[in-house]
C-alpha cells in the first residue's frame, strides 16, 4: 500500500496551479543569475567596475576615487545590515534617516555644548538610536500598528525632535570627537572600516546563528513562527532596536567625519537603503535575503552614482538607472518563480 502512496502523491502536486513555461534558450543563464541575487549583483559590479576601468583609466581606478566610493557607501552599508534583518522578519523602518540625525545631534550636543568626552558622545548617540528603535519596536509589536505607518510617523517625530534639540545643528563638535570619523587607515577613513566590521559580523550572524535564524521564520510565516514557539514580539522589537543602534552609529560617524552635527542629515536615506535592501534580495513579504546581498546592493548603487559622475552623462540619470536596475532585479524574481516547476 505504501508503494502506491509514493506513486500517487508526487504526481498530484502542481495540478491545480497553472504555471506558464516559456521555453527560451538563454533562459538557463538568466535562471542561474536569477537564482542567486548575490551572484547577479557581484557580476554586475565586476562588469561595471571593469568597463569603467577600461574607458576611464585616469579617473576611475585611482586610489582617491575608489576610497571615495567606499567611504560614500559606509553609511548605507551600516544601515542596510539592520534593514536587511528587519525585512527578513517582514518589517522595515522608514525612520532610519531621522534616527541617524537625532543620534548625531545628541552626540554633538553632549560633546560640543556640554563638554562631555568624545567617547561619551559616541555612547549617547548609540543609546539615542537604541531608544528610537525601541519606540518603533514597541509601537509595532504592542500597539499592533503596521511598520510602514508606525515608522512613517516616527520618521517625522524624530526629525522634529532633532530640530527641537539643536535647531541649527552643532558645529564644530570637537577635535577628539572628529578623530573617530576622520582618522585614516590604509588610505580610507574610519567609517568605511566600521562599516566593514558591522557587515562582517552582521552577515555572519544572520546567516549562521540560531538566534537570527528565527527572523527568517518570522518573515516566512508570522503565525506559524509564533505557534512554533518563537517569541515573535520580542525578536521583532530586538530587530528594531538593532536597526536603531546601527542608525545611531551611522549618525555619530557622520557627525564625527564632518565635525558637525547636521539637523538635515539623512533626509531621504531610508528610501535609498530600502532600495539597496530590495536590490540585495529582500522581499516586502519577508523571509528571504542576506546581509551580503544588501551590501552588494549598496556597493552597486554607489558605483552607478560614481560612474554617472565620472562619465558626465549627468547625475540626473543616476536615479533613472537605479530604478531600472531595481525593476530588472525584481522581474528576475518573477522569471524565477515561473520556472520553478
Amino acid at each position: 500500500m505504501s508503494d502506491s502512496v509514493m506513486k500517487t502523491a508526487p504526481s498530484s502536486l502542481p495540478v491545480e496551479s497553472p504555471r506558464q513555461t516559456p521555453a527560451l534558450l538563454p533562459s538557463r543563464i538568466i535562471l542561474k543569475l536569477a537564482n542567486s541575487r548575490e551572484l547577479m549583483l557581484f557580476v554586475l559590479i565586476v562588469l561595471l567596475a571593469g568597463s569603467m576601468a577600461i574607458f576611464y583609466p585616469n579617473n576611475f581606478p585611482t586610489s582617491y576615487n575608489i576610497s571615495a566610493v567606499l567611504l560614500n557607501a559606509a553609511q548605507n552599508g551600516i544601515l542596510v545590515t539592520g534593514m536587511m534583518l528587519l525585512m527578513i522578519a517582514g518589517g522595515f523602518d522608514l525612520s532610519v534617516g531621522s534616527t541617524l540625525a537625532l543620534a548625531g545631534v545628541w552626540a554633538g550636543v553632549v560633546v560640543g555644548w556640554w563638554g562631555w568626552p568624545a567617547e561619551a558622545g559616541l555612547a549617547v548617540g548609540l543609546v539615542v538610536g537604541a531608544l528610537a528603535g525601541l519606540v518603533n519596536g514597541l509601537i509595532v509589536t504592542r500597539l499592533g500598528i503596521n511598520a510602514l505607518i508606525a515608522t512613517l510617523a516616527t520618521m517625522t517625530i524624530f526629525r522634529g525632535l532633532t530640530y527641537l534639540t539643536a535647531g541649527t545643528g552643532v558645529t564644530p563638535i570637537g577635535n577628539d570627537f572628529k578623530a573617530y570619523g576622520q582618522s585614516v587607515m590604509f588610505g580610507i577613513q574610519m567609517p568605511f572600516w566600521v562599516m566593514l566590521a558591522v557587515v562582517a559580523v552582521g552577515a555572519w550572524s544572520v546567516a549562521r546563528t540560531r538566534y537570527f535564524r528565527q527572523f527568517y521564520f518570522i518573515g516566512g510565516n508570522t503565525r506559524a513562527a509564533k505557534l512554533s514557539g518563537i517569541r515573535v514580539e520580542q525578536l521583532t522589537t530586538v530587530g528594531f532596536i538593532l536597526m536603531g543602534v546601527l542608525a545611531g552609529l551611522a549618525g555619530v560617524l557622520g557627525a564625527s567625519r564632518l565635525n558637525s552635527a547636521v539637523v538635515s542629515a539623512g533626509i531621504g536615506v531610508e528610501l535609498s537603503v530600502i532600495t539597496a535592501t530590495v536590490l540585495g534580495g529582500a522581499s516586502l513579504k519577508g523571509g528571504e535575503g542576506t546581509v551580503i546581498g544588501g551590501v552588494l546592493g549598496v556597493l552597486f548603487i554607489a558605483l552607478v552614482q560614481n560612474a554617472m559622475i565620472i562619465n558626465g552623462v549627468g547625475i540626473y540619470w543616476q536615479n533613472i538607472i537605479i530604478g531600472l536596475v531595481l525593476l530588472l532585479a525584481v522581474s528576475l524574481d518573477r522569471f524565477k518563480q515561473a520556472h520553478r516547476a
Binding site: 504555471r19 506559524a224 512554533s228 528571504e288 520553478r340 516547476a341
Partner: protein
Amino acid sequence: MAPRLEARSITKRFPGVHALDRVSITVEPGEVHALLGENGAGKSTLGKIIGGIYDRDEGEILYDGRPLGAISEPEAGALGIAIVHQEGSLVRQLTIADNVFAGRQPTGLFNRVNEKAMVAKTAELMHQLGVDIDPRRRVGELSSAQAQVVEIAKALSQDVRLLILDEPTAALTLTETDRLFDVIRRLTKAGVSVIYVSHRMAEIFTICDRVSVLKDGRLTGVRRVAETSTDELIRLMVGREVHFARETTSRNAGKVRLKVERLSAKPFVTNASFEVRTGEIVCLAGLVGSGRSETCEALFGARPRDGGAVQVDGKAVNFKGPWDAMAAGIGMVPEDRKDAGLFLSMDIARNISATVLSKVSSAWLVSESSAEALANRFIQDLRIATPSAKRAVGDLSGGNQQKVLLAKWLATEPHILIVDEPTRGVDVGARAEIYRIMRELAAKGMALLVVSSDLPEVLTLADRIVVMADGRTVGEMPGEGATEEAVLRLATQFTSLQTPAVQAGAHP
C-alpha cells in the same frame, strides 16, 4: 433534447503534469453531477475549464448542443454558467451586496448604482439560502461559513443554467449544508444543472444523481448514484480498496498526562474539562464553531485564557506562550497548515528545524547538515514522498505537507501532542499513513489530543471521544462502539442556534 453540457476529450497540461487526459462528461438538464476524486485528480481543473477560468488544451465542449469556444469567466456567466469557488473570490472590504453584484450592479439614472434594489435582491438571495444577514455588512466581518454562503449567492444572482460548485461545504456547518442542498433541489427542479465537485462521499449520495470519478487526470468511471456504493467509488478513486478499520488491539492507557479543568477563553471557550492519559488518543468532536480549536490554542498558550486550570503530569501550569508549552513537552499541529503551520517557501529541512533550532545547532550556530539529517530521518520514518530534504514545502502535495508539519512537531519529542484536523485536504492514501503514524505514537506512550470534524475519522482513531458544543465539553464516551449518531446527538443537543461567540460578535 440535447444535454446541458457535453465535454468531449478534454485535455489540459500544466508544466510537468497532465492535469486532464481526454476526459469526457455529459450533464443533463436538471441533473446534479458529481466530480469525485482525490486531491490533484483533476476535478477542480475540469470545473474551472467548464467555468471559463482555464482554457483547455484539447477537446470540445457543447453547451445546450452549441459548441463553446474559449470563454472568460464573465462570458460564461452571461451564458448562464456560474462557478462557486473553493477559495474566496470575495472582496473583504466591500459589503455583501457589493460582492454579490460585483461588476453588474443594477443601475438607475446616469448609471448611478441602485443601492436599494441591490440590497433587496441580495437579501432575497441570502434568505433563499437560509441565512438572514444584513447585505450591507462587510464580508470581512463574516465567518468563513457565512462568506461561503455569500459566494453561493453571488453565483445564483445571475440566471444560472449550469452551476459549478467546487467543494462548497468545506466551510459549512451541517445546518448550512442542509440549506444548500434544499437550494440545489429547488434549482434542479427548475431545470438547472449542477456540477458538484467534492470528495465527501456522504454528500454525493445525498444530493447527486450521477458521479464521474477521476484519478490522476483520467476518467475512471461514471455511475448512477442509486446503483453504486461507497466501496465501489473509493475503488475507482484510488484503484484499490482502503479500509480505515479501528485498531482492535486494546492499548493500556497509563497515568493522566494532561488534565484540563473548567478551561475558559472567552468568548470561544466557556467551560472545557477533560483529561488525556499516556498512550491514549482522545478526540475532541463537535460542530464547527464549538470551540475545539480554541480550547487547544488556550491550553497551548497561544490564546489567553481567563479561567480554569491546566495540569501536566499533575503539576499546574500557566503558559505565557507556546514556548512555555513546548518546554513542558507539549506540541501542537495547527488546523490550517498553510496559514499557521508551514513556511511554504522554505525547504523541508528548514521547516522541520523551526521548532528545534537548538537541537540542530552546536553552540550558537545552526548546522545545516544536522537539520538535513533530522529531516531525512523523518522523510524515511513518515514516508514523505520527496526527492530530497531541500525541496520547498509549497511544492509538495497536501498529504506530504501534512506529514512535514507532523514531523516538525515530532522533532520536539513531545509527551503530549495536540493535532488539530490531522487529515484536512489530505488524499486517501496519505490519510491511512497518518492514522498509522498516530497510532504508533500512542503505542509508544504519547498522549494525543485530536480535533476532527470528520466523524468517521474520530470513530477510527479515538480511544475516548470528548464532545464539545458552544464552547463547553458536554459529554464523553469510549471510542470503541461509538456511533456517528451518538456523537452528533450530543453535539447538536447542546448547540444553541447562535454560539456565544457569534452573539458576542466575534469571528473565529
